[in-house]
């Protein structure tokens, strides 16, 4: 039975839940900031990818496209392809948000991305979390502050960090750790193996569509395994 939580404590608990994620996303945000500083694009446009896209892989892609002077239509279509997975996240969160006000859903949707989705869906399914909605927003606030801060620092630092630090590997290592830390069922193992293998096989697809194909395959594999007696 969940204990009664004050609004502020629920927000703090959510922010605390985001702390492990910050170690992974902050370097990624820093890399994006450095990339934005190194490209021949307006500083405002580079920084605005943070709050307006709030999704690292699409931010990197947009920065590269803007540097190449790609047309707005190309930028938009590429963004849709890369961020298509956000549709799935919204679908997963929809039943947990259905009782909330439209204004709440508008705000909550704006910060829906891997860290907030993972924390939000875990909180929604955890009876010990008394206020999963504030928990989600607390996590989102922590992620947003860290993300924008890291991007800003990266833009200020520019290209002054040595390449051997391997900052580009931090996010995948963190994701690997998150997978290893989660409880494993046959279905989730199927999702991991199928999703990972198809992602590798479909890596050559344009506009990061291989990621979407891999996600659909992973989820489908899990459903098949789950349905077996």
């Amino acid at each position: 039975m969940p204990t009664l939580a004050s609004p502020s404590s629920a927000l703090r608990d959510g922010a605390r839940a985001a702390v492990p994620w910050l170690a992974g996303i902050a370097p990624f945000g820093f890399v994006i900031g450095v990339t934005g500083a190194e490209r021949d694009i307006p500083v405002a446009a580079a920084w605005l990818t943070g709050p307006l896209l709030f999704a690292g892989s699409s931010q990197l892609a947009v920065l590269e496209l803007l540097d190449d002077r790609a047309a707005i239509g190309v930028v938009v279509l590429t963004t849709v392809a890369i961020n298509l997975r956000l549709l799935f996240y919204g679908a997963a969160m929809a039943p947990h948000w259905s009782g909330r006000s439209p204004a709440w859903r508008l705000v909550a949707a704006a910060v829906l991305v891997e860290p907030t989705f993972a924390i939000g869906i875990d909180a929604a399914n955890d009876e010990r979390v008394a206020d999963p909605h504030r928990h989600y927003l607390g996590a989102a606030a922590a992620v947003a502050v860290a993300w924008f801060g890291a991007i800003t620092l990266g833009m200020i630092a520019g290209g002054s960090l040595p390449a051997w630090l391997g900052l580009g590997a931090i996010v995948p290592l963190f994701l690997v750790g998150e997978l290893a830390a989660r409880p494993r069922s046959r279905a989730s193992l199927a999702a991991i193996v199928a999703g990972g293998l198809v992602a590798l096989a479909a890596a050559g697809m344009p506009h990061h569509l291989g990621t979407v194909v891999a996600i659909v395959t992973g989820v489908s594999a899990a459903l098949v395994v789950e349905a077996r007696p």
């Binding site: 170690a23 307006l52 859903r105 508008l106 704006a110 869906i121 690997v176 290893a180 996600i215 899990a222």
Partner: protein, 94 residues
Amino acid sequence: MSAVLAVVAAGAVTYALRLAMPVLLAGRRTPPLLERASSHLVPAVFAAMAATAVTSAPVLAAACATVIVTRRTGSSGRGLVAGLPVLWLAQAVL
């Protein structure tokens, strides 16, 4: 100015992707298949996003260290901290 406009446009469609399903499914019962599929989304997404990046020997070695430490400690943060020195060492020797 056109770069800023492009970012605003990209941001608008991204927001639409985030908001679409909560709006479309508001007040409706979530289809059971969607509910079951949602519970498998996180492992599928994480595996898909990590797999294409864990392809070089140094990153693979670091990922193995991350998995071992995470399984032993239950902390993905500690796994990451353990994986980084392995990454740097592997980059130096491989």
